[in-house]
């Protein structure tokens, strides 16, 4: 029984996108500390869990999660994060939609996995910075010697990105689980979920 997305759904998507955006911008401030910058997707994945799980209680149609990804991506684009996040968020949103739809938006397990996939989209914010890596490398070339750089470059290029994806995914699983708990603790009792 799949109806098409209506006005109420679109407004729901808008409202929950705002919450995610506020959270990522607030915690994004931590990114000014250089080392934490690369960890931002992990932090983001940790804080998005609660709102996402509440969002899911209002989702019963395919496409709403994809749309939220796209919308968050567009806001990132408008705020100067380039168009890369649009692509990344839409893809992770779509995957998440597909995963959660397999159990008709009702299973806890697929919700958590689906959320973790969605959270990986946060890497989209980082990708432009990641593409900057050649500069870090050339800077290090000058200061630390070619041998060291040759040793560390592959790390920076592929492995690190993969590690980051995995860590963000794990953070997403944890946060999704916590989100479910909070949902039970507060919103179910308050009669809202």
């Amino acid at each position: 029984m799949m109806e098409s997305i209506n006005i109420k759904d679109l407004i729901t998507v808008g409202i929950f996108s705002v919450i995610n955006i506020i959270l990522i911008f607030t915690f994004g401030m931590l990114g000014y500390i250089p080392i934490l910058m690369l960890g931002l997707p992990i932090i983001g994945a940790l804080v998005w869990g609660i709102p996402f799980m509440l969002f899911l209680t209002r989702v019963n149609k395919f496409g709403m999660i994809t749309l939220m990804g796209l919308i968050i991506g567009i806001v990132m684009f408008l705020s100067g994060h380039t168009w890369i996040p649009i692509i990344v968020y839409t893809i992770t949103g779509l995957l998440s939609d597909i995963i959660i739809k397999t159990q008709n938006y009702s299973s806890i397990k697929t919700s958590i996995i689906g959320y973790a996939v969605f959270a990986v989209g946060l890497i989209g914010n980082m990708l432009p910075f990641f593409i900057l890596r050649d500069y870090y490398i050339s800077a290090m070339n000058a200061s630390m010697g070619v041998e060291y750089v040759n040793f560390i470059t592959p790390f920076l290029q592929y492995h690190f990105l993969i590690i980051l994806v995995i860590l963000t995914f794990i953070a997403g699983l944890i946060s999704g689980y916590v989100g479910k708990l909070v949902l039970k603790k507060h919103f179910k009792k308050a009669g809202m979920a």
Binding site: K8, K185, H186, K189, A190, G191, M192
Partner: protein, 482 residues
């Protein structure tokens, strides 16, 4: 115009606990009539408005039997955007009914949705701006205008569609008295234009000259029906209704509550925003342990004063002198507490008892239960605060203030949108707090509440205290009654 035929509706779709929110409603509303739907909270008047503007069944799911008709056509079978051409709806909270960020777009929003051509949009905007005298409100951010102005824009924007009927659901809840009178003028204009108006309200004082007919709801059913002349004569209090004519009200507490009156002083409460002062109090004396009403127009500085008093504004360097002790900002933050208008913002725990315990320095469950008993909350001990009604939430906030041994309480519009019974409860709680030795400040536009409860008045205008007096009916009337 409207006909409701044996309509019942329940928001609850769970068959086991099926309780109808409205039951067997039969109602006919003629074209050009102005009809009031009244009754206690939860009596079914809002639900009835939703059946008329199509939100039931398009937005609220539930179990429905019977039918509502617009000009002979079934409302449930018309698409809701078609209904939008014929019916203009205004809601309680202007904060959440605006879709646009600037006023001009909001005024014309409905017409844009109905795909009117561009020159028609311009023509209508001009007409509406003229009729509602909105020249100064055009092209403003909706975040920079007052609640009264927002409600005016809301009325103008539904008017721009030129519907035949208007449906208003508690439109005056967040308005000061002057804005309520302005709302009356708008209703009168609609009436003169021959529009049909259905209005669900608790506050009645501004409606006396507009109404044709009154429908009284009780427990989801229509209990009585009067024309306006009959309605003027009945005893409103007995039915749990607010006063229709404020002149009938009398001051209840003519003297201060405390016998040996002490005062505290406020010194140098000033606050600037963008270099222009919005609060400027050099020195003032206020009676201690009383219930003090803070009155004034929207934007007069009342809520800034409340924030400064509670120590929430860092740049306000004012001092409060209490029992010969000078309290600076940080000490005031410890001794005072504000019960906010949106009380949802100040409840954090997962049960009522936890909420009270959270406020205690040393958690003492016995004491917490005692406080709950006195505020008639003990039966809700383990319920989640967000599952409570508005009045109950407010009591939980009060309970947590008592638990953290606050001496000064500030209430921001504690009775906005409340019916008589809930207002009287608020009044009772305030008097209970007085007996505990707490001084309460109440920012309010509610004349009825002031007469019922308060003993001292502080009147703000333009950031200044322009009057500071023991309760005086004549003075109050001048401000509240037009």
């Amino acid at each position: 115009m409207f006909k409701i035929d044996n309509l019942s509706f329940s928001y609850n779709t769970n068959e086991k606990e099926l309780k109808n929110n409205v039951e067997n409603i039969n109602l006919k509303i003629k074209k050009g009539e102005v009809v009031l739907l009244c009754g206690e909270s939860g009596c079914g008047k809002t639900t009835t408005t939703r059946c008329l503007n199509g939100l039931i069944p398009y937005f609220f799911n539930g179990q429905r039997t019977g039918e509502a008709y617009l000009n002979g056509k079934k409302i449930s079978e018309m698409p809701i955007y078609k209904l939008a051409e014929n019916i203009g709806s205004v809601f309680q909270d202007p904060k959440t009914q605006f879709f646009n960020v600037d006023t001009t777009s909001e005024i014309i929003f409905g017409c844009e949705n109905l795909s009117m051509p561009e020159n028609e949009l311009k023509k209508r905007l001009k007409t509406v701006v003229d009729e509602f005298k909105l020249y100064n409100l055009l092209d403003k951010s909706i975040f920079k205008i007052s609640g009264g102005e927002k409600q005016k824009i809301a009325c103008a924007s539904v008017n721009a569609v030129y519907p035949d009927a208007f449906i208003l659901d508690e439109p005056s809840s967040n308005l000061d008295s002057e804005s309520s009178w302005n709302l009356r003028d708008i209703l009168q204009k609609w009436k003169a234009d021959g529009k049909t108006v259905v209005i669900a309200e608790h506050k009645l004082f501004f409606l006396e000259d507009v109404l044709d007919r009154v429908i009284f709801f009780k427990n989801g059913k229509i209990e009585s029906e009067w024309n306006i002349d009959e309605f003027k004569k009945i005893n409103h209090r007995k039915l749990g209704l607010r006063q229709l004519n404020l002149n009938n009200l009398k001051v209840y507490h003519n003297d201060y509550y405390s016998k040996n009156q002490e005062f505290f002083e406020l010194k140098n409460f000033t606050f600037k925003y963008d270099k222009s002062p919005i609060l400027d109090i050099k020195h003032v004396q206020i009676p201690k342990n009383e219930i003090i009403a803070i009155i004034g127009k929207n934007g007069a500085g009342k809520s800034t004063f409340a924030h400064c008093l509670c120590g929430l504004e860092r740049s306000c360097k004012g001092e409060l002198i209490l029992d010969n002790k000078v309290l600076k900002r940080k000490e005031r933050l410890k001794k005072s507490y504000m019960v906010m208008q949106d009380v949802n913002h100040q409840l954090f725990a997962e049960s009522v008892i936890d909420e009270v315990l959270l406020s205690m320095d040393d958690e003492n469950e016995e004491l917490a239960e005692d406080i709950l008993k006195n505020l008639n909350l003990i039966h809700l001990r383990d319920v989640h605060p967000m599952a409570l009604s508005g009045g109950e939430k407010q009591r939980v906030a009060i309970a947590s203030a008592i638990a953290s041994k606050k001496e000064i309480l500030v209430f921001d519009e504690p009775t906005s949108g409340l019916d008589l019974k809930n207002m009287m409860d608020v009044s009772k709680n305030l008097i209970y707090l007085q007996k505990l030795g707490i001084t309460s400040f109440i920012i309010t536009h509610d004349y009825e509440l002031i007469l019922e409860t308060c003993t001292h008045i502080i009147h703000f205008d333009n950031g200044l205290i322009i009057d500071n007096y023991k309760i005086d009916e004549e003075k109050l009337k001048k401000f509240f009654i037009k």
